[in-house]
């Protein structure tokens, strides 16, 4: 049952991602990207990462993509990308380059260069406590310093964004 769900969601995410690349209009692009992100959120749930799935929906699909749409609309960018200009020839090599990249990644996977060490957070254990609770525990104990630094990062980013976007200070 799960495997079918995986295949369906995976296919949708790849198709929408492909649309993202080949669709000309920015607004559609943004909508396709939101769809991809929703698919990925579904996959997170399949992977028993409920908290991350929720954050994916709220932060990515909700906040960030809305920000994108805002900018597109603010700048009135819903114009078709013109095909004139230089680097027309790069399209074909770029696609080949993407295929080459994909092949190399697959080769790495086949060569088993990625051994992993199994941790103690088995699915059953995490589910018995609750996924969000485990993450919260870790964030406020072992990862407290990075967590706090994150707040500074967001603060700086907010100030930076205002600095850049404001016409006159």
């Amino acid at each position: 049952m799960e495997i079918y769900l995986f295949y369906i969601v995976a296919t949708i995410s790849v198709v929408t991602a492909a649309y993202l690349i080949f669709e000309r209009s920015p607004v559609y692009n943004a909508l396709y990207l939101i769809q991809t992100m929703v698919c990925i959120a579904v996959l997170y749930i399949l992977l028993e990462a409920q908290f991350i799935a929720a954050v994916q929906m709220i932060v990515y699909a909700g906040a960030i993509m809305v920000l994108f749409l805002f900018v597109i609309m603010l700048l009135n960018l819903n114009i078709k990308e013109e095909t004139k200009g230089a680097l027309l020839f790069q399209k074909i090599p770029a696609i080949f380059m993407g295929i080459a990249l994909f092949v190399t990644i697959c080769v790495i996977l086949k060569s088993k260069l990625l051994p992993g060490k199994h941790g103690e957070y088995t699915t059953a254990y995490v589910n018995s406590i609750g996924n969000t609770r485990v993450i919260g525990n870790l964030l406020f104990t072992d990862y407290l310093l990075p967590f706090e630094i994150t707040s500074i990062l967001l603060f700086v980013a907010a100030i930076g964004a205002i600095m850049l976007a404001k016409r006159k200070l």
């Binding site: 680097l87 790069q90 090599p93 380059m97 080459a100 990249l101 190399t104 080769v107 060569s111």
Partner: protein
């Protein structure tokens, strides 16, 4: 007192520093006081050191003072050390003493020059260099002084560098000296290779006690190379041409170069290395021959020159020839003695001629002088004493020293040396009195507007003249045959070497019992003959020189043009060097070296021009390269192992 020897060097260099760094802001009087004071103090210390040396017993008169260790590299050691022995103590007395008088004179002579402080800065440096040369206890330090003297002569000869002839003369002096210095440097290197030391004491001990026989090839080469340096510095054939041109400098500088510093360096060096020279008879012959030939050659040119300073310049070359002749026959004492007396009377003559030039507002041509003896009496009287001294009339200084050289050249050398020296002495007496008569006697040939300004020089110029005149008068008594104070004083330096065939001074005494007095008579007669001929030609019958010049006009022209030596050198050396240099410049430098450098630059530019097209300015393009690079790195890490 001997420990004070370092101060002798210190004072002049302090004077140089003060006048060189702050001279522009100081008052003229201050500059003069600093310059004269530093040399005066140096002279005072020199006297103290000299007295200190005299207090020691004759055999112990050698004092070395290590200032600091200068260069140490493997087995090569050069210390900055000073050496006081009879020879160097005599030299420092002459250098500082005569130098001091010249400094005082310069205060008056140069008082209107705008480069006043620069002049005194150079002058102090000149004295310092010469003192360093004289006082050093090893060859390398001596070489530093040797080079510094050359540099100072360049600076001072070209002092009025805005005059083209002056800057040319300075360049000529420097380049000709370099030729000699090259030989000197090679000689020092060979000394180090041979004796593994450059310290005077060690080298001379090794030479006299080592396994070098008389006439050893190595020693001959060393001494010839050193002599090459001496010919450059002391203006001997073939490198003498710079000295007459050096007259372009201010007259007190000429006096300093000719009397106290610079040209005496070569003679001093040979006297210092007497141990090496006596070991090589061949070199001694070369030295004596070149000295003798130079003496005659320069004196013959001096016969017809019309520039008052040029006559004196050729006379200096001629007198230096005498000194080399003396050294070449092994009579180092006589050479040094003549060096000393010559310093007195040549300084006097130059300063006197400077006084004349000063009185005539810069006129140097003797044909436009004459009858000056009533206008500038002090200059005339002192000049007369100097002339008599150089001509060799008893009892003036030149008589004793020249007489001793003549005697030694006959006793130790051979008749030819004596004959050449005697003819040169005759010439000397003639041209010096010709100069005196043309300048001070006869009718005045001075231009009218110049004649109105004729005046005696100020006190600070005449007093040095009088002191030098006094020295020229009494200086000779140091070396009266039989009771020669200077002989005895210098004996520890020159006497008693195992290889010396005719050793020391005492042998002359019993060798030639009857000679000295006969020789004195002969040389006096020679001098008197020269003087009377000059008197006849230039006072009695002033029209006679012109007739003679017409009758022997070929010889006259040859002499007047200095045997065309400058022209010959020009064709033989200067022009080919220039042609080769131009070829080197155009072919090697401009084409090959510059070409290769420019070619590399052009190649880089060419590659850059091609590869700059990679920099499209399109971000997507750069991203493309980044991805390609990522793939490359992944492939490398996965498959590279």
């Amino acid at each position: 007192m001997l420990n004070l020897v370092g101060l002798i060097l210190l004072f002049p260099i302090i004077g140089t520093a003060i006048n060189g760094l702050f001279g522009k802001r100081l008052k003229k009087e201050t500059v003069g006081y600093v310059a004269c004071g530093s040399i005066g103090l140096s002279f005072f210390i020199s006297v103290l050191v000299f007295c200190g040396l005299l207090l020691l017993p004759p055999d112990a008169r050698l004092f070395e003072k290590q200032l600091f260790s200068w260069i140490e590299s493997g087995s090569f050691k050069a210390a900055a050390g000073l050496q006081v022995d009879p020879l160097s103590s005599l030299m420092i007395l002459v250098v500082t003493g005569v130098g001091f008088l010249i400094h005082i004179y310069s205060v008056g002579y140069m008082h209107n020059d705008k480069g006043y402080h620069r002049y005194f800065c150079y002058l102090n440096l000149f004295t310092f260099s010469m003192l360093l040369l004289v006082l050093s206890n090893n060859f390398l330090l001596m070489f530093i002084g040797w080079e510094a003297v050359g540099l100072c002569s360049y600076l001072l000869i070209g002092f009025w560098f805005e005059k083209k002839s002056a800057s040319d003369a300075a360049k000529k002096a420097f380049i000709v000296n370099r030729v000699g210095d090259f030989g000197f440097a090679l000689g020092i290197m060979l000394i180090f290779l041979t004796f593994h030391s450059i310290d005077f004491t060690e080298v001379f001990n090794a030479a006299s006690h080592g396994n070098f026989g008389v006439g050893s090839f190595t020693v001959t080469v060393i001494t010839l190379l050193l002599f090459m340096g001496a010919t450059g510095k002391s203006a001997q054939i073939p490198l003498y041409t710079w000295l007459p041109d050096a007259m372009e400098g201010p007259t007190p500088v000429s006096a300093l170069i000719h009397a106290a510093t610079m040209v005496t360096a070569g003679v001093y060096m040979i006297a210092r290395c007497n141990v090496l020279y006596t070991m090589s008879p061949f070199t001694m012959t070369v030295v004596a021959s070149i000295g003798a030939v130079t003496a005659l050659f320069a004196a013959s040119i001096g016969l017809v020159q019309n520039d008052i300073k040029r006559v004196l310049a050729y006379s200096t070359i001629s007198q230096l020839g005498y000194m080399f002749l003396a050294c070449g026959v092994g009579a180092f004492t006589a050479g040094i003695f003549h060096l000393m007396t010559h310093a007195f009377f040549k300084a006097l003559l130059f300063l006197g001629s400077g006084s004349v030039i000063h009185a005539l507002s810069g006129e140097q041509d003797m044909r436009k002088m004459g009858g000056l003896k009533h206008h500038i009496p002090i200059t005339y009287k002192t000049f007369l004493i100097g002339t008599v001294a150089i001509a060799g009339l008893p009892p003036f200084a030149g008589f004793f020293s020249k007489d001793e050289i003549l005697l030694e050249s006959l006793v130790r050398g051979n008749f030819i040396y004596w004959l050449i020296a005697a003819i040169a002495a005759f010439f000397t007496a003639f041209y010096m009195f010709r100069l005196l008569f043309m300048t001070f006697h006869g009718e005045s040939r001075v231009d009218h507007h110049v004649a109105e300004h004729i005046h005696e020089s100020p006190r600070n110029m005449t007093i040095p003249l009088m002191i030098l005149a006094g020295l020229s008068f009494v200086g000779g008594f140091l070396g009266i045959p039989g009771a020669s104070a200077i002989n005895n004083f210098l004996a520890p330096v020159f006497g008693g070497h195992p290889h010396t065939e005719i050793s020391g001074t005492e042998s002359i005494g019993h060798h030639s019992e009857g000679h000295p007095y006969l020789m004195m008579v002969i040389s006096t007669a020679i001098a008197v003959a020269g003087i009377s001929l000059a008197y006849r030609m230039y006072v009695k019958k002033p029209e006679m020189p012109g007739r003679l010049a017409e009758r022997f006009h070929l010889i006259y022209k040859l002499l007047l043009n200095k045997y065309y030596v400058d022209e010959i050198y020009d064709v033989l050396f200067v022009k080919p060097t220039k042609i080769i240099s131009i070829q080197l410049w155009k072919r090697v430098d401009a084409l090959m070296i510059d070409g290769s450098v420019n070619g590399i630059a052009r190649l880089v530019g060419w590659f850059g021009n091609i590869f700059r097209h990679l920099q499209t300015g399109y971000i997507r393009n750069y991203a493309f390269y980044i991805v390609a690079g990522c793939i490359f790195i992944i492939v490398l890490t996965v498959f590279g192992k």
